[in-house]
């Protein structure tokens, strides 16, 4: 279990992560979704104690990362492809990590086997393809047989086979009761893997919900109607207290009524229909809409009367950076 409480990170006058509070639970895959630059990687680096938060905290099973003894046995991470010395062989890369956490040497062979790199174990990782580098990174994450796993954009740049392999691997890990936290900027990828969803934009939490709930709430289903007698159709719908929206091109969109009922209604009134089709907004669209707001928000935040963003950023008072940050913002606005 990973708990974030008010996690905040400023880089100079930029807010990369803004008061993130959520919990990553075991036994499921939690997708961490946001557009590029939303603060996903920064958040994950703070989870691993690599970056120091400006405010707030992350706890792994109730403890700070830096307090963990042999952390690789608690939490394994794939941060980015090739966080490794290219001149070192795959075996030695894993061996030095294993030794630092008191993990037995035979485990290195085991994880190399799991990710299918046994045949190139003695080769220097410099010559590895993106996919092989990614597999080696995953081998490192699995080394300590940890209960918590973090994957930062694991499918980036992989071929379809590699993507499927990683998906299956993550599902198996979650199936074994582990905590799996995976970031992506692709909703379509998350829809296939994640059970739970945490969405951020501009460093702020936009959604923390189950995948099913997210789909229910965000995939608007409606029925599209087209008729040469649109006015009469509207009258009929109105009489039945059904709201229809004109969507241009002579089409009507109706929310919350099954297509069957609308068809039968039209037949009862002997209306000619040229189209009667149930529609579904894609999850990608829903995600774009959700995060587009945060991007839009960003476009406005340079205006002099500091909006909600400015107000919040100066709120964690006590940090000297906060004052300078606000002052700087004012200057830029003018």
């Amino acid at each position: 279990m990973i708990e974030l409480a008010g996690l905040t990170k400023h880089y100079g006058d930029k807010v990369a992560v803004d008061h993130l509070t959520f919990v990553v639970r075991p036994g499921i895959i939690t997708g961490f979704l946001g557009p590029n630059g939303a603060g996903k990687s920064t958040t994950m680096r703070m989870m691993l104690g690599l970056d120091n938060p400006t405010a707030g905290s992350v706890r792994i099973d109730g403890r700070h990362y830096r307090r963990l003894q042999d952390p690789l046995t608690y939490i394994g991470a794939l941060l980015e492809a090739k966080a490794m010395h290219g001149g070192r062989s795959a075996f030695n890369h894993l061996l030095c990590l294993a030794q630092s956490n008191g993990i037995p040497r035979r485990r290195v062979g085991e994880v190399l086997d799991t990710v299918g790199l046994t045949s190139v174990a003695k080769k220097r990782s410099k010559g590895f393809s993106l996919g092989m580098g990614q597999r080696l990174g995953i081998a490192a994450a699995l080394l300590g047989d940890p209960q918590v796993l973090l994957f930062d954009e694991p499918v980036n740049g992989l071929d379809p086979e590699g993507i499927r392999w990683i998906r299956t691997m993550m599902k198996n890990l979650a199936g074994q009761g582990r905590t799996v936290f995976v970031s992506s900027h692709l909703m379509s990828e998350m829809a296939l893997t994640a059970d739970h969803l945490v969405v951020i934009g501009q460093g702020r939490l936009l959604a923390d919900t189950s995948m099913a709930q997210f789909i229910r709430e965000n995939s608007r289903s409606y029925v599209r109607l087209r008729s040469p007698e649109q006015e009469r159709l509207l009258d009929v719908l109105h009489a039945e207290r059904i709201t229809a929206v004109q969507a241009g091109n002579g089409t009507l969109e109706v929310d919350g009524e099954p297509a069957e009922r609308l068809g039968e209604l039209a037949a009862a009134h002997q209306l000619v229909l040229h189209e009667l089709s149930p529609q579904q907004a894609s999850l990608e669209e829903a995600f774009m809409q959700l995060t587009a707001e945060s991007v839009e928000y960003h476009a406005h935040d340079g205006e002099p009367p500091a909006g909600p963003v400015g107000g919040r950023a100066t709120a964690p008072a006590g940090t000297p950076a906060a004052g300078g940050w606000g002052a700087d913002r004012q200057k830029k606005g003018n």
Partner: protein, 256 residues
């Protein structure tokens, strides 16, 4: 807390599994010994034609270390690469995720690298001494002569401290290019220039390499310095400790 023994083993695996270790240390040995031998051979044959003043201050021991000025550059490269490779390759994030206690991480890395450099440095120093003396004929110093053993061991210590100082600078700067770009000209040019211009000579005496080199002299030269062999080494140690403290403070506070 991460067990120090585990991290030491891990750092040893890291250091022995990259080629740059063998290359840089190998070059340090070859250049130091080779150049020392060459200069000993030249000095031995020129002795008869030297001015009297130079003959009186002829330091057979120190001459066999003449290659160190160049050989130390390879030691600097080793020291810089040991630390900055972590940053330039991205390995640092894997390393610090595995050992989040940064004090333990840095301490173990430096201990392993320094121990290796000490062994190589002592080996180089003794080899340079015996090989050099064998070419000096009747002028040769013997290891049992007063101050000679101290100078030879001192040569090894000097190389070790140069490498350790470089590791500390690289910990501060992180970038290998920046670290080498500062250290190389500093030790190869600036220090020598400051030490040879009379106006700046007094400052030059207190630079780490010039102070440290005093320990390799058996016969004090024409330009007396205000400290003895161990005093000079002490000044070098002080520089190194100061650099290490800065490096550690930065590592502890910085985002990886």
């Amino acid at each position: 807390m991460a067990a120090v023994g585990q991290v030491l083993r891990s750092e040893w695996t890291k250091i022995r599994s990259v080629r740059s270790t063998v290359w840089t240390l190998g070059v340090a040995v070859v250049v130091t010994v080779g150049l020392g031998m060459l200069i000993c051979a030249l000095a031995g044959s020129d002795f008869g034609t030297m001015p009297v003043r130079d003959r009186l201050t002829f330091d057979a021991t120190n001459i066999s270390f003449a290659g160190m000025g160049l050989g130390q550059l390879a030691m600097i490269v080793f020291g810089v690469l040991v630390v900055s490779n972590e940053y330039s390759t991205g390995m640092i994030r894997s390393s610090l995720a595995a050992v989040p206690q940064r004090a333990t991480f840095l301490f173990c890395k430096l201990v392993v690298a320094t121990a290796l450099v000490l062994l190589v440095g002592l080996f180089t120093s003794f080899l340079a001494f015996f090989a050099g003396q064998s070419l000096l004929g009747g002028l040769a110093a013997r290891i049992g002569d007063p101050g000679v053993l101290r100078a030879v061991i001192g040569g090894g210590l000097y190389m070790t401290l140069i490498a350790l100082f470089s590791m500390a600078i690289a910990t501060m700067l992180r970038s290998p290019m920046l670290s080498l770009g500062i250290l190389m000209p500093f030790f190869f040019l600036i220090s020598n220039i400051l030490g040879n211009v009379s106006a700046t000579r007094k400052i030059g005496h207190y630079l780490p390499d010039q102070a440290g080199r005093r320990i390799m002299q058996v016969v004090p030269g024409n330009n007396p310095v205000p400290y003895g062999p161990w005093g000079g080494l002490g000044i070098m140690v002080a520089w190194t400790v100061a650099a290490l403290v800065c490096g550690f403070v930065l590592l502890e506070r910085r985002d990886a």
